[in-house]
């Protein structure tokens, strides 16, 4: 059963200056007795989040508020400095904009490589399935990814990542690049994933998207939780929202 528990998690992000990457400088500094300690910034400050299966959590907040860092921490990219973190279930993180794609490889190779990375055996039928979801032309399968527009790239990567039910899906500013048509389709698929007992965490600046897809929204600022808004109905009345935004 998918589950995420964060209790009093802190992360001190080391800020490496240009000189901190130099071994010579470090050694000389130590010999001279003037070794400056590496500066850190508290990117995540005492955050506690509990998420059980079926939870869709939206992370909102200004740039640099710790959304992406928090997602990476849950994914296991960054080790937490202190606190208790437990994640059960297999995590599919889709964080940066090209999320591990090799731009020189053709689309089909990228799909099969990404499938292998997540421990699946790529078969031609499976790749065709994924390709059908992207709604891109058949011949583009044999084109290197660097020929794709960012929206097309996103379609391919999203389709690959969500081809199999994941226990925990982490998305960072994802559905904002694709066009409306695909976005609606992607949301459908996300809702389907959630119905299969998964946890989805989405970081986005698009409040409307978060309100449509999430059950609760966590507002972050300076690495702390400002407040948590829980939305009971998954799709609240769009008119009300528009009024609030006006």
């Amino acid at each position: 059963m998918a589950n995420i528990t964060l209790r009093d998690i802190c992360l001190d992000y080391p800020l490496y200056g240009a000189y901190d990457f130099s071994l010579k400088r470090r050694l000389l500094g130590r010999l001279a007795g003037a070794a400056a300690p590496i500066q850190t910034i508290r990117a995540i400050d005492n955050i506690s989040i509990e998420a059980a299966a079926g939870a869709r959590i939206g992370l909102a907040g200004p740039n640099g508020s710790g959304k992406s860092t928090l997602l990476r921490l849950i994914a296991g990219v960054y080790p937490a400095t202190s606190g208790h973190l437990a994640v059960t279930g297999n995590v599919v993180p889709l964080l940066g904009l090209n999320a591990g794609a090799n731009m020189d490889f053709v689309a089909a190779d990228n799909i099969s490589l990404l499938l292998r990375i997540s421990g699946r055996k790529p078969t031609p039928a499976l790749i065709d399935d994924i390709w059908a979801f992207t709604e891109l032309e058949e011949r583009m399968q044999r084109l290197p990814l660097r020929m794709f527009s960012s929206g097309m790239l996103m379609r391919v990567l999203f389709a690959t990542a969500t081809a199999f039910p994941a226990d925990i899906l982490l998305l960072d500013e994802w559905l904002s690049v694709v066009d409306e048509n695909f976005s609606a389709k992607a949301e459908q698929r996300l809702l389907k994933l959630v119905s299969q007992a998964a946890i989805v965490i989405i970081a986005s600046h698009d409040h409307e998207l978060l309100r449509r897809t999430c059950t609760s929204i966590v507002n972050l600022d300076h690495g702390r939780i400002v407040n948590t808004v829980s939305l009971e109905a998954p799709s609240p009345h769009p008119f009300e929202l528009r009024e609030k935004r006006a």
């Binding site: 130099s22 071994l23 990476r72 296991g76 960054y78 080790p79 973190l85 090209n98 999320a99 591990g100």
Partner: protein
Amino acid sequence: MIPHDSARRPSVLHIFKVYYPDLFGGTLSVIRDICAGLKDIFSAGVLVCSRTGGKSRIVVNDVAVERVRSFGDVLSLPAAPTYPLRLWRRIAEHDLLALHAPFPLADLVFAFGLGRNRPLVVHWHADIVSHAALRSFVEPLMRRTLRRAEAIIVSDAVLIEKTPLLREFADKCHAVPFGIDVSKYNLPALRLDRVNARGRLVLACGRLVPYKGFDVLVRAAVDRSFEVWIVGEGRERLRLEELIKSLGVQDRVRLLGSVPESERVKLMCIADVFAMPSVTNAETFGLVQLEAMAAGRPVVNTSLDTAVPQVARDGIEAVTVPPGDPEKLGDAIDSLIADPERRRRMGEAARHRAMTKYSTAAFSKGIETIYREAAAAPAPTVRASRAAAIGWPHTIQIAAALAWSDMRHRYVRSLLGPFWMSIQMAIMVAVLGSVIGHFSNASAVARLPMLALSLTAWTFLNSVVLDATTALQNSASLIKDRALPPVIFLLQCVFRQGLFALHNACVPLILWLFLVPKDFSGAVAALPGLAVFIACTVGLSLVLGAMATRFRDLKPIIESGLTLAFLSSPIIWSPEMINQGSAVMRLNPLTHLFAIWREPLSTGHVAMPSVAYVLAGLIALAVASVVTVARLRKAAFWI
């Protein structure tokens, strides 16, 4: 923290270097008082070293003490090689760890990240003062321990101010003054008939170690009338005895040796003046002077940067003199000896201060509060790295899949794929072979297969290491966005270059098939050597790859180092071509790394020194690799 039923008391493990009955001293009585004072709230265990041997598990004052065999002291530290292991195993059995610092052997255990899941409280008894060289070496270890500690307990606030290392962690330092049970020193009968009768008995107590400054006290007794009794045992005894003899004061200065506690209380009560002539900041508090104060004695102490002159204050409970000055010390004692009324006043003030400011109840309460808070603090559990979460078989699978797709991509770009490199290699072998043919008288053609094979092996090692220096940066997206463990991409280099090396291996294979009489036994004998060669390459790629990512200026150094290694190792030339005695060649690990598989191939046997050299190197690399893989958890911060 592990939830436990309320009936069970949480248990504290006290970690120190020595305990009763091997030694008596201030720090030990503090540990004993903590155990006794908190026995209703915390159950206690003590893990220490012991030189005397004897039973490893004993019970002292209802406290279970486990003693680890030590083979003597090196730089004031017990040489107990099994202590770290034993400590690691005991940590899991307790709810709270109480480290009595300084004890670098335990710092070593914590520096390795062991026992991270248990809260730690550090009792800071003293800094390392006497061994400056040792201190600079262990300071990073001590800092690591203090950083992970929940709380640091010192005996007086002045220590936080005066110790640079503690100032860094001032926010978690707590000053809890030691306590003393004044009622133990109520011996009115003795006080009345003995005290002031002779009025010239000076008492000092403590282990006979240099920082206690007893030699200063002995010198101070020269040409005076008072008597000095020194209670305690230690390694300075012989030197002190000689000093006493050479100064001719043996009629007035006596070393009493160890004395049972009850006797010591009596001695405290009959003494006229208590002296604590300590000379370094290793004396942080001076529990004995507090005992003397409880017994109502005036104190002569020294103006150290520690709590010593704060516990017994100059002019009120004590006369404070500069440390290491026998003249001033003698004068101070004489002035007290000569003035019984002042002695009585100071003694009463001292007893009053001991009773009010340093009560055992306040001490126990203070420690209890800190222990409770530390035990309740969420243990700094940090999950295991993703490599562990993903699992090694899967890690290797992913690395292999990535390497395989890299190679396929080469074929996509050109029909020959990596065979282009093999053609390059064949040309290089032909040219070098003809040049080297002129160097030596042996037939150049017969050398060609070995030359080709050596070049293939070198190309593999060289390109794996070079590849590894940039591998993590090139895969930043997969590491940060897909949360793949960084070690995958270092393994990917090995696999990728391994596949290319298999392509290159066609050149030596063809040459060997055509030019050399077939003998497969040599080839089989070379296999273990080749396996070790590959293992060393993997180790090098892990260690250098990670270091070059963390420290960007390493890459050019590694590049030029590889060129130098290529030229100074017998790869294109063979050892027989040059003077066998060349020290550079014999010390060069690459010589041996090549010898362990080339020699079986050409002669059928291998020199043992080469095997030993290479295996030692492999073990060192294995250790470094384990450390590196642990460190790679932080690689996402570097890229």
